[in-house]
Symmetry: C2
């Protein structure tokens, strides 16, 4: 049985979520925009799910806009804001997900980049320096997908609020792992993705405070409060709602479960004197650890682990295939050679202590074989 340790890339659909979706994937159908009973049934299902997703985010139902996923939410936020409030400057952190960084780079005037410190944290002084008097939107993620670093957003949000600057946070990795409170936090926009929290792929949300000016990007219907045209993906939205409900129920127990596994793994990793854990010592997601292995290439290690039926990531899944070091580790000023050796392990609710042991044992084998062949190579020179 293969071991899946890549839950920050995507999670397995929860059986209870599938059960909630199936009634909307059967013989009874209807377009939620249709006025008849079939349409109304679908519309009601969307609104029930909206309520659950709002609760997970600590938001009000009317603040939830369903999209096709986190990438669309981030693109909609940046482009929609830029469109609605021209001549404005946007600043984003250097460690954002590519679905935020790339659209930011493609904005007409681009975006200012807020650097992070060597632990991957956005500090207040860095924010102060990156902001100009024209900055009208800041975007800093709640937690990083690679390192798991949780940003201390409160002082950043206060600072932005004093300058009448809107604040967005990509909470794709935090939703379902730690508590969110959209309304009380003072952020104006938040991105969530369902498939990161045992919900279906193909659906996400952009949570919006009505103060934030935004225009739609996808035209052709007035769905989602006229912010996202297109027939609503009802089964996925229903699944998202159910996944949000389950995430709320299991928030603490779920976090404890993965924290125990992650801590056990880190304890084991420390026995290798060639391994360094990134962003150690700062608050991180309970399920995530990213580490470098001196003298190894991350992609090669990933493939070697894959041959041993263990699935990890060598960086963000969305940038796999690139050979450059991760932009996150680069921003933390980690040397290229160490950054290129990065392996990310992200636990999920289906993992067990046996998975930790299998990974540690596999790493030991690969590293020892390699060291042995290095010695052999050295001996033959």
């Amino acid at each position: 049985m293969a071991v899946y340790l890549d839950n920050n890339a995507t999670t397995a659909l929860d059986e209870k979520v599938l059960d909630a979706m199936l009634p909307y994937m059967g013989q009874v159908t209807g377009n939620p925009s249709s006025v008849h009973r079939f349409g109304r049934l679908q519309k009601d299902a969307i609104e029930q799910a909206r309520e659950l997703v709002a609760q997970l985010a600590g938001a009000r139902a009317e603040q939830v806009v369903f999209t096709s996923g986190g990438t669309e939410s981030n693109n909609l936020l940046l482009n929609g804001f830029k469109q609605a409030s021209r001549e404005t400057c946007i600043a984003v952190s250097a460690v954002e997900h590519m679905s935020l960084l790339e659209p930011a780079q493609h904005l007409q005037a681009g975006a200012d980049i807020i650097p992070v410190d060597e632990k991957g944290c956005v500090t207040l002084p860095a924010l102060e320096q990156a902001m100009t008097e024209h900055t009208s939107l800041l975007s800093v993620m709640s937690a990083n997908n690679e390192t798991g670093v949780i940003q201390d957003l409160a002082p950043l949000i206060s600072f932005a609020a004093e300058r009448d600057c809107f604040f967005h946070t990509d909470a794709s990795q935090t939703a379902g792992k730690i508590a969110l409170n959209f309304v009380d936090s003072g952020v104006h926009a938040m991105t969530i993705s369902a498939h990161k929290l045992y919900g279906p792929v193909g659906v996400g949300a952009l949570i919006l405070d009505k103060q934030l000016p935004i225009t739609k990007r996808q035209f052709g219907g007035s769905q989602e409060k006229n912010l996202r045209a297109g027939t609503e993906n009802v089964p996925a939205i229903v699944g998202f709602g159910r996944a949000a409900g389950l995430a709320m129920e299991n928030l603490e127990a779920g976090a404890s479960h993965v924290r125990v596994l992650r801590n056990a793994l880190e304890k084991g990793l420390k026995e290798f004197n060639t391994i360094s854990i990134f962003a150690e010592g700062v608050e991180r997601l309970p399920n995530t650890v990213q580490f470098g292995i001196a003298g190894f290439d991350g992609e090669t290690m990933l493939m070697q682990l894959d041959r041993k039926a263990i699935a990890v990531s060598s960086g963000s899944a969305c940038t796999s295939g690139k050979t450059e070091p991760s932009h996150v580790l680069k921003a933390m000023k980690i040397a290229d050679v160490l950054a290129n050796s990065a392996i990310r392990v992200s636990f999920g609710k289906n993992n067990t202590m046996s998975d930790v042991e299998k990974l540690l044992s596999a790493l030991r084998d690969i590293i020892e074989i390699n060291q042995h062949s290095s010695v052999m190579m050295a001996a033959t020179v």
Copy 2:
């Protein structure tokens, strides 16, 4: 048991399609962008589905770009083309779906509108008149969602080709109902939606000839040949593939089945001397009939039929809620009062002759009661 006669709005998911999707909605997961075995499994599933969707469209697999649906495909096409080839003019027919017309209206320079004749057809003279020497993209749908009118595209495509003008067709309503041949037809882009052909909602395709210049709109990853960033909706894509396969197998039998029902309904409708069928006498989709009922309001009729557990549309589902007459019927120069009385019936594979009888009987009841009360009203005045 309620009668669903709104299959142009959306269709019920085929059981076989659901069966194909379920293995991708269970405990085994993986992000298709991930390099490990879990990711590769998902990637392979996407490529198998791409092959099937390509076959349905008469295209090559590498020409298929998966999107979140028809609306996204149409938006991507128009905006992506405009972005890639600035300073160009676009012309679209007056009867396009709103997911094409609205983004066309929002393009920087707007779009030229090609009028239709009173039967809803785009004629060559109309096209010639609407095109300027600068027109570089034409978009004419294959068949209309409201009237069912099938456009005779061949002469329009030839005309465009002679002028080096690219041609897009929205085939959302034709795919699965009549045969498509992307490559041989000479079109450069085609939109398809899965949930119109018993596939899942939340997935569609834009079929693209590589000659057509286009840039992506959603950034943050190189998915879908770098034309659509975001984690792929694998279960939906797999379902789309299966639905495409089934549609090809059942193309003729499926068309015959709905044609028999539609013809029986039309025969019955002709017994009401107050009913006129729109676009009668021109080639239409085998499953669709739209008609006006003198002296009735379409929305009210829809609600009265709904109370009798029969679901129809009073126009395009996506524009329901608006009280203006359908833009399609307006373009056909049908008087507002008759256009406002429009009812669209669209049959699907799950319908039977009993559904036709129920609808005819319900219409008879409603019209008779109304005529009776009108008489009563007149008598009491």
